[in-house]
């Protein structure tokens, strides 16, 4: 097949890079949210005076 014109090829290239960026951003956002929630709960548990000393 002959090479696509730049305006058409640009859409495909942009789509591929957007897929990559979206995958990474969604994954990082999910992990960061989970980590923040866990760390908040950990801090709350550690600050709680009812926490038995080990």
């Amino acid at each position: 097949m002959p090479a696509l014109p730049l305006d058409e090829a640009g859409r495909y290239v942009a789509a591929a890079y957007v897929v990559f960026v979206v995958l990474i951003v969604v994954y990082v956002a999910m992990m960061a949210t989970k980590l923040t929630r866990i760390e908040r709960r950990l801090a709350a548990l550690e600050d709680d005076p009812a926490e038995p000393r080990r």
Binding site: L6, V13, A15, A16, L35, D48
Partner: protein
């Protein structure tokens, strides 16, 4: 050996990725045959190589777990395979976009490279259901390690089988001569490969940090549940089953 810190890895990874993508669009020459659409190569192929390497790494960590019975290897193997599946989704999506632009089809079923990658991807997609179908943590880790070892061994065999195939449309990148890329393209490709590999390591570190924090929280929760005296349970202490929980 201490694992590199996430706060060190993340900015280096972001900077390297920015430099790599910058060189894709401002340094690497436009391909004479495919034109501008060939720029997809710089994100698609590094992701494929890193995803397949991640599956193999998961197998190696499975061997380490079976040898040492150290749960840290099980956790590392799980994270490597999990991230490789995510990268695999990226490979299939970017590959389909490139195939549509270059060949006029989203998918070609008689192309060994595409179908073999799909088989490897689907094989490892069954890792998670297998793992979480087992309640007992020890058995879960052991079965998952055996699966990872067998799956990891399948990846290079699959790669060799595709190499031996006579008919293919998909271009070869890593040939005996190092491919037929000119210097600028090769340098950009290697930069992208390094950046995507470092991104994989960084994301592994992020997920490992999250999993370790979740483990610490579970242990703390459990110790509180055990140490709370008999009588009415305070509202702040949730009731937990005493049995050890498997990796989630």
């Amino acid at each position: 050996m201490r694992a590199p810190r996430l706060s060190t890895l993340a900015p280096i990874s972001a900077a390297l990725l920015a430099a790599a993508f910058g060189s894709v669009f401002f340094y690497a020459p436009v391909d004479a045959d495919q034109g501008f659409v060939q720029k997809i190569f710089y994100v698609h192929v590094p992701m494929a190589i890193v995803a397949l390497s991640g599956f193999v790494a998961g197998g190696v960590m499975g061997i380490m777990y079976l040898r040492t019975r150290d749960r840290r290897w099980d956790l590392r193997g799980y994270v490597a395979i999990h991230l490789s599946i995510i990268f695999g989704v990226g490979v299939l999506l970017t590959g389909s976009i490139w195939a549509r632009a270059s060949w006029g089809h989203w998918w070609v079923w008689d192309e060994p490279t595409l179908v073999s990658f799909l088989i490897v991807f689907l094989l490892f997609c069954t890792y998670q259901p297998l793992r979480f179908a087992i309640e007992d943590p020890e058995r879960q880790a052991r079965y998952a390690a055996v699966f990872a070892v067998l799956g990891g061994a399948f990846v290079p065999l699959n790669f060799l089988a595709v190499r031996l195939a006579q008919a293919y449309t998909h271009p070869r990148v890593l040939g005996a001569t190092g491919g037929s890329m000119p210097g600028g393209m090769r340098l950009t490709f290697l930069l992208c490969l390094g950046a995507v590999a470092l991104l994989f390591v960084t994301l592994c570190a992020l997920e490992l940090t999250t999993k370790r924090a979740a483990g610490r929280l579970r242990r703390l929760d459990r110790s509180r549940a055990v140490d709370v005296p008999a009588g009415p349970r305070p509202a702040s202490v949730p009731h937990r089953r005493p049995a050890a929980r498997a990796l989630r």
